[in-house]
Every structure is written in C-alpha cells, then in structure tokens.
C-alpha cells in the first residue's frame, strides 16, 4: 500500500507561539532549494498562516488559533489548472515547479484555500512544500513540526486505511470541506474554530450576600429536546460548547436548591455569554 504524508494540527494543543511560521521563514527566506522552490520573500509570505480566533464576550471568552497552509490535496484544483506546472509526488506532496510556473500569477487563484502566494520579485507562485527538500534528505519532520513545542503539528506517513483509522480514532476533520479536494491536512478539535458556545454564570443570594451557585444544574434544550446538561462550577460558571453557529432558538433551564427554576431563551448566532443569572 502506498503511503502519503499527512499533516495534523490540533487546535487544543496550539499555543499560538508562531514557531512554525518562524521556522518556515528560516528555512525558505534567502535559501533556494533547487528542484523544489525558489527563496521565499522576507516579508508578506506566510506559507503557514496562524490566525487568532476569539469566541465569546468578556469575561467568558476563549482564544485559540487556526493554522492554514497548502492542503496537499489528493484532488488538487491547482494541479488541474496548472497544465503541468504543479504536480503531485507519490508521497502526496503537491509541488509547484518554479521553472514551469514562472509568470503564472493566475495560479494563485487556483487554490480555493488561498494558499498559493505570488512572489513579486521572482515572478513565481509559491506555497508550502512540506519541506520536501528535507524529507528527501531523510528528515523525519518538516521545519514547522520540528519547531512546534507542544506537538500541535504532526507529520504522519500513512496508507489511506491507516489514515481513516486515525481520523475516526482522533475525530479529525478537514477545514472548509465544501471544496471537496481530499486534503492531506487534518484538524483536531476543530470545533474550537467552527462551532460556538453558550456560557454564563449563576449567582444566588445567601444570607444577604451574593454567592456563586456552585452545583447549579443547567440544562440546554432545543424545543423539547435536551441537547446537553451540565453543573455550574464553584464560580457558578457553565458552558456548552461545540454548538453549530446560527443554529436557532435554545432554552436554558437553571435549577438550584431552594430557588425558583430560571429559564432563558436565546437565539444562537455565534458564541454567547448570557452573563450572570441571579436566582431567587
């Protein structure tokens, strides 16, 4: 069975240090790798692009990152558009031939993910090569993977079956699946980017003082259906995550010993902090 390279990115593990971007620039700026790629411009190009994601409202927010790079697709639109200037290696890496692609600025538009960039100075389209020049020298990791301190980025060489097993095992997803290109880049914990949460705090009045409703029961319903249930923590905080955006009307029920049940109705568009709910 032929094996190909897959890159796996875990949103929960990424700390946003940008070591991957720095390592990529270190490898490619001012360095030409003949047969692979021309030098990357010092500024402007991000062959791996780390973007900050913020969800929620003060003080219930979370901040994560999403990495975008060439997906090294099995069904790559850029290859179809390039007339031989872009090709796929047997190990799955999609390469731009810098000679054949010279002057073909239109190829930057061929990538539905926007990951082909134009090098103004050398007049050539460029992108992530998955450090093919290093892989061919026996390196086990790409520069971005090597520089990642937490293992948020991983390089795997697997058969299709092995990859499918891993996808199921680790609940991996592809980003922007609508383009249907069979990408070789997979995401773990992608809900941190493409789903949203509902959160809030529950407070009660005890002996004249406002207290956090530690242990309050919080139920999330959509219509009559119970979607999820949770217990408020010692700060009275609760959170329901991985909900689809723009998913309509929800009902939150809050129950706490000795207090009246509280019901909150809301329409979910994006991550939402409902604020502090005072029970009486």
């Amino acid at each position: 069975m032929t094996k190909r390279y897959y890159l796996i990115y875990d949103l929960a593990k990424c700390i946003g240090c940008h070591n991957c971007l720095m390592a990529c620039k270190d490898e490619h700026v001012d360095n030409e790798w003949p047969g692979y790629t021309l030098p990357q411009p010092r500024h402007g190009h991000k062959w791996i692009n780390i973007h900050r994601i913020e969800r929620g409202q003060y003080p219930h927010i979370d901040v994560k990152y999403i990495a975008r790079l060439c997906r090294h697709c099995d069904d790559a639109p850029c290859i179809k558009a390039a007339g031989g200037a872009i090709y796929k290696r047997p190990d799955g890496i999609v390469m731009i031939d810098p000679g054949k692609a010279r002057g073909k600025k239109e190829l930057t538009a061929a990538c539905p993910y926007g990951m082909i960039l134009w090098n103004e100075e050398r007049e050539v389209p460029q992108k992530c090569t998955l450090c093919a020049h290093l892989i061919d020298q026996g390196w086990q990791k790409t520069r971005c993977v090597q520089a990642c301190p937490t293992g948020a980025l991983r390089l795997e060489k697997l058969t299709k079956e092995e990859m499918e097993h891993m996808i199921n095992e680790e609940k991996l997803e592809v980003l922007d699946p609508g383009h249907d290109t069979s990408p070789g880049v997979y995401y773990k914990n992608l809900y941190l980017y493409n789903k949203c949460f509902i959160s809030g705090s529950v407070a009660v009045e005890i002996e004249g003082k406002t207290e956090c409703a530690d242990g309050a029961k919080v139920i999330l319903r959509q219509g009559q259906e119970e979607i999820a249930a949770t217990t408020a923590d010692c700060f009275g905080d609760f959170k329901f995550d991985a909900l689809p955006r723009n998913s309509g009307l929800y009902i939150i029920e809050i129950l706490f010993d000795g207090c009246e049940k509280k019901i909150i109705e809301l329409e979910l568009k994006n991550s939402l902090n409902v604020g502090t709910v005072f029970l009486t």
């Binding site: 700026v29 010092r42 901040v63 301190p149």
Partner: protein, 986 residues
C-alpha cells in the same frame, strides 16, 4: 647551567621550530605570521638567559641571547617561574599569580605585544576541529540564544538554517516523574522561543551596522552640535578613525574631569553567552578605564525586591521564591494552581523557551484546576483554560486582602503554621478585619476597587482554602505585571502573606506552575552569566562565589564610587542631580542605602558610552531620554550596537558590534546564575553550549570583546584587559573552570558543541522548596543564601528576616521607616498614585494602560530590524507599508471611540503620544488597554523627545515616578492614557 636553566634554553629554542612547523601545516597561522614584522625577546629578568625571535615577511628566525632593542620583551623573574608558565597544560593560576606578583613582565606596544601573545597562544588551538559535517558543503554548528540553544547550519560562510537541538543516542537520558499513576518524561530535545528562530533575519538584517559611523555634524575638534542628536545623519568612517576618536575622548574626559565623567550602562539583557553578556567583557573594559556605572533598577522584580523581601528575605533572588523540587511536588500533590499576573506562555519564565510549556501540558492531563488573575486574558489562560478574574490594573492587593478576609472569617487557613512559622499575624489580621482603620477588607469592599465580583472572590478563597494550592505570582516566582504597578510592592507582599496563611512548603502547597524546579542536576557546576564571565569583577557580579576560584583571572576594580540610577539618567543629565537606591542582593538592608548623584567630589557625566539594547522601549517616560541626549551637558556620546535603531540614532560615533553567531562564546541554556540561582531548573535538560563562531562578522562589525580590545590597545590596557587571550581561549578557560572536563574532553566538546548534563538518581533529587521551613528543619535546599551572618539563631535555621520567620509585620521596615505611608510595616491596600483614584487625571485619561513584557520578542531583540517576528500579527501589524505596534482595546471602549480593528490610533497622555494599530478584543477588561513594552524602534514624527512616536515605544507614556519614593523601580503598569483614531500627520 642547571637542569632547569637547560630546559628553559631548550624550550626557547624549540619554540621557533614549533612556530615553523605549525605555519607549514596551517595556512591560517602562516597568514597570521605575515601580518607583522617584529622582534620579540623572551628572557630571564637578570639577562642570564634568553632568546629573541625575529618575525619578518611571514618567517621566523631566532637567536640565543639578549636583543638590545626588541619590540616586545617577555621577562621571567627566574627560571622557576619560567618553567611553570612555559610548560604545556600550565596551571592558569600560576600565570595569573606570576603577573600579579610582578614575576612576569611584558613590555612593548600593545598591538605588538598582543600579536606576539596571540602567536604563542594559537600554538595550542590550531587545528582544532569544530562543528559537524552534514555533507554537500554544509556544516552544523551550535549556538545559544536568550530563547534556547540551537543548531546552526552554515554553507559557504552563510547561515542557512537555525533549529532546536535534538539529542543523539549518546546524550544523557531524561528524568521521569511518577505522579498519580502516570509517568512524565520530557522529550529529548530543546525547545526554542519564536525570536530564536528569527535570528537569521536579524543577523542578515537590513538595519545591521556594518561599519563605524560618525554623525555628520559632529566634529570632536570643533562644533559638536549635541542638539542635533537624533536628527542628523551619519557618514561612514574607518575603524581607526572611530577608535582614535573614542580613545582620545576617553583620555580627554579623564584629563579634564576625571573618570567619573564617563558613564556606561547596559540594557537588562544582551546576546547570549557568558563571555559576551553585559556583566562580562563590558565590565572588564570599563573597570579598567574607570567610569560612573548606570545601576540597574530591579527590572521586572520591582514589587518583590522593594516589598516581598521584607517578609521573607530572599534578597539573592531579589525577593522571589525558592523553587527546588516543585515540579515533582506539584505533579504529585497539588490540586489547584492560581496564576496571578502570570503568563509563562508569553514570557517563557525568562530564557526558558518552551520548556515549561511541555510540562504544563501535564497540568491539563492531570485535570488540575486552574485560575488566572490578570486584567488581560493572557496566553497561559487562553491555552490552559480555567477561571479568569480580571482586576483593574494596580488593584490586585485589594483582591488579595479580601481573600485573607474570607480565610480569617471562615477559618480556612493553617492556624498552626501561622502560629509557629510566622510573626506578626495578629496585627495584620486586625487590619484585614477593619479593627485598625474601621474598614473590613471584605470581598464587597474589594469589588469597589478591583471590579471583580465579591462572590467570585469568596468562591476563589473557599476553593483555595480547601485545596492544596500552588500560587504562581509572576511568570517565574518574582516578576508579574502586577509588581510593576504603583501598588506593586503591596501585591508582592500580599502574595507572601497569603502563602504563609496556607502553610507554604507543605506537600502540594507552594509557589510555581511547573516553570521552575525540574529534577535536573544542580550539583554539576557550570557558571551562569551573572557570575561575571571574564569581567574579573568581584563586586558588581556574582563572581566571588564560585567562578573566581575556579577560573583565575586578573581582578578588575572600578575606582569610581559615583553611580547613576538607570531610571534617572535623564535627570542626571538635564537637572544635574538625582538620588537612587541600590539593588543589593546581599542583604535586606542594602536597599535602604540612598545615594546621590553627583557623588561627593565627583564630576558630572560628560561622556556617555551606550552599549546594548535601547531604553526608549524598555524604561519609563522615555521622551526624557531623547531630550537628555540632546543636551550640551553630554559632550560625547558613543553607541556600540548591532543594529541602527533606538538609541543608536542618538550617538556621535557608532561602533558596529556583531551578533553572538559571529564570535566565540560559551553558555548554558537559561543559566543566568546570580539573582535567579539555578535558573536552568526551568529547562527539561541542562544543556551547555560551546557557541561556535558560525560565520565571520558581517561587514566590518566586530565582537564587543574585540572592540574593547582595540580601544584598550589605544589606552595601554590591552594586556590587563585581555590577559593576552582570544575569545576562544577564554571559552577554554571557562570549560576548564566548570565540571565539564569530568565528563567530556575539550576536543569533543568543541567539535560536538553541546553537552547534556546527566540527571541525578531519584533519591538524590533536590528537596522540595520550603519543606525544610514548614517542618522547622535546617535548610536543605542547595543555595547559599542567606549568607551566614544573616541567620539569627543558628546557621541554616530559618529565613533571612530578623525573626528567621515569615514576618507579617516586617522588622526591617520597622527599623528603617515605620511611618512610610507608601510602605507600611504590614501589607495594606494603597490606591495607586496614577489610576482610577487620581480623579482629575482619570477624567482626562480614562484608560489604564498595561505594558507587559512582549511575547514574540525579548526586550528589543527580535523586534524591528527586518525580523521575521514583525510578520506575526499579534506583534506588529503592517498598514500602508509600515509595521505598527499593537494596542489591545475592549470592544466597548473601541466602540465608544469609533475605533475598529486595525485602525491606526493615537495613544496619548501628558507625557507623549504613540501611534499604534488597534486590536479590538475582549481579552482586556473594559477600561484597560494592553500593549507590550520593548519596541526596538523609536521613530519620532517630529522633534525627538517632543513628538509622536510611530515606532511603538509605549513606555513614552508610562510614569517616571518611582514605584515608592524610597526605591529605584518603575511602575509602568500604572499609566493612564486616552486613545483616539489617528488621522495621520497633520
């Protein structure tokens, strides 16, 4: 002729042959020989034996006897001394002793003497191989940075790649900690900080200074035009011209005023390496010249040093905590970690790359509860999760007092520990409960100050009181933005008091967040940079403790007693006077010894020799510094810098220094020594690196060592400054001084470039910090502080305080100034002198600016200068071709001002204006704005010191008032500003 005399004569004869053989074998040596024609005599002082060497046209010949007029003469007292010094593998102490006792005299012009000594010394180093051949013309060298050690791949004399170090099979095995049924082992590699991976772009920066420069309208013999500093352009001059000007100015200033009129200081950091850091080469040179040193403020330690020290001592750690063994204790026993003003994922502890990050993954794995207290939803909170509490800047101590209130009123503290291991609790308790001032410090009371809901504080206090909790205050123990507010001393003090109430040192109750305290080998000696390298300075560095005995060198002493506090440089220049308080790590009372500038009998500063990173982005109210540069009081300014940025643009003469990749050095990962003893316990592995000279210095740039040597030659100081040694010779001396030779030969170390120190077996790991204290045993953690005289009862028993215990009521403050309203004898909440309580100012400038240490750059390293780091949108944002510094503002505040994401905004107050790019984010609480300090760039749009800065030095806006009057410390995080959209230059 005695046998010894015969041996002396034979050695001298053999020397000529040896030089010839080496010149034949090594072309580089032959080239060296061809650079000078001189006659060098080696003899006994009484002229009874000797030989002279004639170097001419690259050849050497020699004759027995005494030359009447040699260029260089090396004379030994007698044949015994000569035998000791000339033998291969000589003891360096013999060499130093012979010099100090006038048993070895070297005469001649400095450059000729140096040349002859280099000719001799090279005989021992020629032919040594270094680096690993990777094939295809690529060589892999090793280097070290402020953000971790690295492999450096070089081809055709150019750096092509910089990577972290992945260990090979021969390197030492890692440690394993078993906790809660799991095994935790770090990976066998080093991590790096992002700016470390950007080093290639900084080496080949468009802003590199490649040759010496002179300001076009500076004429040392005519009009100096000081008012044009920061305005006029520069012209290229030769090294000889530059060095001649600087050397003659040094002589002139000393002649006209005395050495006290020469001022020099440094930034808080420099490029890595024990020889090249600011406590080494620089001090050796300036101590030899004589100068008024700029004394460092305890930068980043403010509240700990001026506050916490009085409760528990730890002056050697500037008020920070012991950290030994805490990684294992935390993993095994702790139930909750409270991060208070602590963002290790941004600051890497210090120098710690992502070593702690790897371990904090285990916190998540074990499901340990976490709380983050910070006005900014920081990177550690964002990654690890947990409860975020966001007090208004400068109010943290109110929150802390309210926690203590809950513990006292709900009986949630360790009463037995407080009774037996602390002093003065009753007085503090009375204050907390309101018996002293009628104000109980309740959670509701603090809510008014901090904006944090009372119920959250009660919940936190109860959780903390019930769970075994680690408190991490600051990114390492010490530091933290809260300690750099007007109430920073009170915050740091409160942190100590809270831990004292919870039984500091008991299992699972300690300080830290896995950033420090790994079970690496603390018994293996390798010096940190604060041990002074080759400085010979026994007073201004930690050299006297260990290094001086192990690496004999000529001591150096600055004879000038005058000092200038770094935060008061502008006042010293512009007003001609200022006062300061010392940063003294020896003893608690050291910080009380006020000093004045000018010191009695000393001249005012006339010459400023600036070296290293710029102050515009790192000190406070920094328009002052720009104004000071333009004063006539400063007759001469020289700046020794790698890049043309920041303060370099204010010099009369600029001397181009090279980076650490272009010179030899030696240093350990995250080992600073001195004020963070055993700081390498931040690392998963102790990695000691021979920092290869990977490439030749770019352009005409030179290493700091070489620049100072060239100046020393012009001042007749070359021999005492250099001891006739090259940088590589000094590396070897430091290698020999350490425990490395017990494990690896010099030859192997030089070739491979790094060594991983083996870890001790589990039973020999360091004991847990403060466990000895909690259990009232003699101190068993491996640090020599407090000094013996600072123990009250018996050596090793108790802390550095007068009582030997944690003091809620500080005896040192009672003795010094019990009525100081800014620093009462017990920890109190005092509203900030710039903040919501300063009503008029707050109306005018309603936003509180916090400016923590940057995440992606390190001080001014990594920023600007065409660095890859500028590409990171959370660092700078490119708008219309310019990379702007980022200011973070809450959507509510942004909305009220019509500010959108990536709008250019003017951040301003009465002290100045800075143009930034807005990032609209809920990560800052409403009413607070966040922008990192440490911009490397200072780009005034108009008159320097009096116009808006587009470079991003937000420290232009921060107050220059001392954190408390009787201190030398900044409170940059108590800063009121207003932000509005910037419409461009008017």
């Amino acid at each position: 002729m005695s046998f010894k005399e015969l041996k002396f004569t034979a050695t001298l004869y053999g020397l000529e042959k040896l030089i010839r053989i080496k010149a034949k074998r090594y072309p580089s040596y032959a080239r060296h020989l061809a650079t000078k024609d001189i006659t060098a005599q080696v003899k006994l002082k009484d002229n009874t034996a000797g030989r002279y060497y004639i170097f001419k046209n690259g050849n050497v010949t020699s004759k027995s006897g005494i030359h009447p007029n040699p260029d260089v003469c090396m004379a030994f007292e007698d044949v015994e001394v000569a035998a000791r010094i000339l033998k291969p593998g000589r003891n360096l102490l013999d060499f130093i002793n012979a010099g100090k006792n006038f048993q070895l005299a070297i005469q001649g012009a400095d450059d000729q003497v140096m040349w002859f000594l280099e000719t001799l010394n090279q005989l021992f180093t020629l032919g040594l191989e270094y680096g690993t051949d990777m094939g295809k013309g690529v060589k892999r060298y090793t280097s070290n940075t402020n953000g971790g050690p690295v492999f450096v791949y070089v081809k055709d004399g150019k750096i092509i790649r910089i990577t972290p170090i992945e260990f090979d099979e021969k390197d030492a095995r890692p440690w394993t900690i078993t906790a809660r049924g799991k095994n935790f082992t770090p990976p066998r590699k080093t991590t790096v900080s992002p700016y470390t991976l950007a080093w290639k772009s900084m080496v080949y920066s468009p802003d590199r200074l490649l040759y010496p420069l002179k300001r076009v309208d500076f004429d040392p013999h005519g009009n100096r035009n000081p008012q044009n500093r920061g305005i006029s352009g520069y012209e290229r001059i030769s090294w000889d011209e530059a060095l001649d000007i600087v050397a003659s100015e040094i002589k002139r200033v000393k002649r006209e005023y005395g050495p006290g009129a020469i001022m020099n200081g440094s930034g808080s950091h420099h490029t890595w390496g024990n020889l090249g850091y600011w406590l080494s080469t620089r001090l050796r040179f300036f101590n030899s010249v004589g100068f008024t040193p700029i004394t460092h403020n305890p930068d980043s330690w403010e509240g700990w040093y001026w506050g916490a020290v009085h409760h528990w001592g730890h002056t050697m750690r500037l008020g920070g905590a012991e950290t030994y063994g805490t990684v294992e204790d935390l993993l095994k026993n702790c139930e909750m970690v409270v991060f208070w003003s602590s963002d290790p994922e941004a600051t890497s502890g210090v120098y710690g790359a992502h070593e702690g990050t790897i371990r904090r993954q285990w916190l998540k794995e074990l499901g340990i509860k976490m709380v983050h207290i910070d006005p900014y939803y920081n990177h550690t909170a964002a990654w690890l999760g947990g409860k975020w509490l966001a007090p208004k800047p400068g109010t943290d101590s109110a929150l802390a007092l309210a926690i203590a209130y809950v513990w006292i009123t709900e009986n949630l503290y360790d009463q037995e520990y407080v009774a037996t291991r602390t002093e003065g609790f009753e007085k503090w308790k009375d204050y907390i409960l309101g018996k002293e001032d009628g104000i109980p410090k309740t959670p509701e009371w603090q809510e008014e100050e901090t904006g944090v809901p009372a119920r959250d504080v009660r919940a936190l206090a109860r959780e903390w009181g019930k769970k075994k909790t680690y408190l991490v205050a600051g990114g390492i123990i010490g530091f933290g933005g809260a300690c750099r507010t007007a109430t920073g001393t009170q915050w740091a003090r409160a942190m100590v008091c809270l831990m004292a109430m919870q039984g500091l040192g008991k299992p699972g109750v300690n300080m830290g967040c896995l950033q420090q305290g790994t079970p690496v080998n603390t018994k293996f000696y390798f010096p940190g940079y604060a041990e002074g390298g080759l400085s010979g300075d026994l007073e201004g560095t930690a050299m006297a403790v260990s290094l001086y005995q192990r690496m004999p060198q000529l001591p150096t002493v600055n004879t000038v007693y005058q000092r200038v506090p770094r935060l008061k440089i502008p006042e010293a220049i512009l007003e001609g006077r200022c006062i300061g308080y010392p940063t003294d790590s020896k003893t608690i009372e050291g910080q009380f010894l006020k000093y004045e500038y000018p010191a009695p009998g000393y001249p005012k500063v006339k010459m400023y020799y600036k070296y290293g990173g710029s102050h515009f982005g790192t000190m406070v109210d920094t328009n002052r510094y720009a104004r000071a540069y333009r004063s006539e009081e400063l007759e001469f300014v020289v700046n020794q810098s790698i890049w043309f940025e920041g303060e370099a643009r204010f010099a009369d003469i600029i001397l181009p220094a090279c980076t650490s990749f272009e010179r030899w050095d030696i240093g350990e990962f995250a080992n600073c020594g001195g004020y963070i003893n055993h700081s390498y316990t931040q690392c998963n592995h102790r990695v000691i690196v021979l920092q290869h000279k990977c490439i030749e210095p770019l352009g005409e740039s030179k290493s700091d060592y070489q620049i100072f040597l060239e100046l020393a030659k012009r001042l007749g100081l070359a021999i005492p400054y250099s001891e006739g040694m090259t940088e590589l010779d000094w590396c070897k001396r430091m290698f020999d001084a350490s425990d490395l030779p017990q494990y690896i030969t010099w030859k192997e170390f030089l070739k491979k470039g790094y060594f991983v120190v083996p870890n001790p077996p589990e039973e020999l790991r360091d004991p847990v910090a403060y466990r000895w204290y909690a259990e009232d045993r003699p101190k068993d953690t491996p640090e020599i502080s407090p000094l013996p005289a600072d123990y009250t009862e018996e050596y090793g028993k108790g802390l550095q305080t007068q009582s030997g215990k944690i003091e809620f009521e500080c005896s040192s403050l009672k003795r010094f100034d019990p009525d100081d309203p800014e620093r009462p004898v017990i920890c109190k909440y005092l509203p900030a002198w710039e903040g919501p309580h300063t009503t008029e100012l707050y109306k005018k400038y309603p936003l509180q600016l916090i400016s923590p240490h940057p995440r992606y750059s390190f001080h001014t390293m990594g920023d600007g200068k065409g660095s890859f780091i500028n590409e990171i949108e959370d660092h700078r944002v490119q708008i219309d071709g310019h990379y702007y510094w980022v200011i973070r503002i809450n959507p509510e505040d942004a909305g009220a001002r019509g500010i959108k994401n990536n709008d250019l905004v003017k951040v301003y107050n009465d002290r100045g204006e800075v143009i930034c790019a807005a990032q609209v984010t809920a990560r800052v609480r409403p009413g607070t704005v966040h922008a990192y300090e440490s911009s490397a760039l200072y780009e005034p749009l108009g008159e320097p010191g009096n116009s808006a800065d587009r470079g991003g030095c937000v420290n232009i806006l921060t107050p220059s008032r001392m954190i408390i009057k009787k201190s030398h410390g900044m409170a940059a995080n108590s800063c009121l500003v207003e932000v509005s959209k910037w419409e461009g230059e008017k």
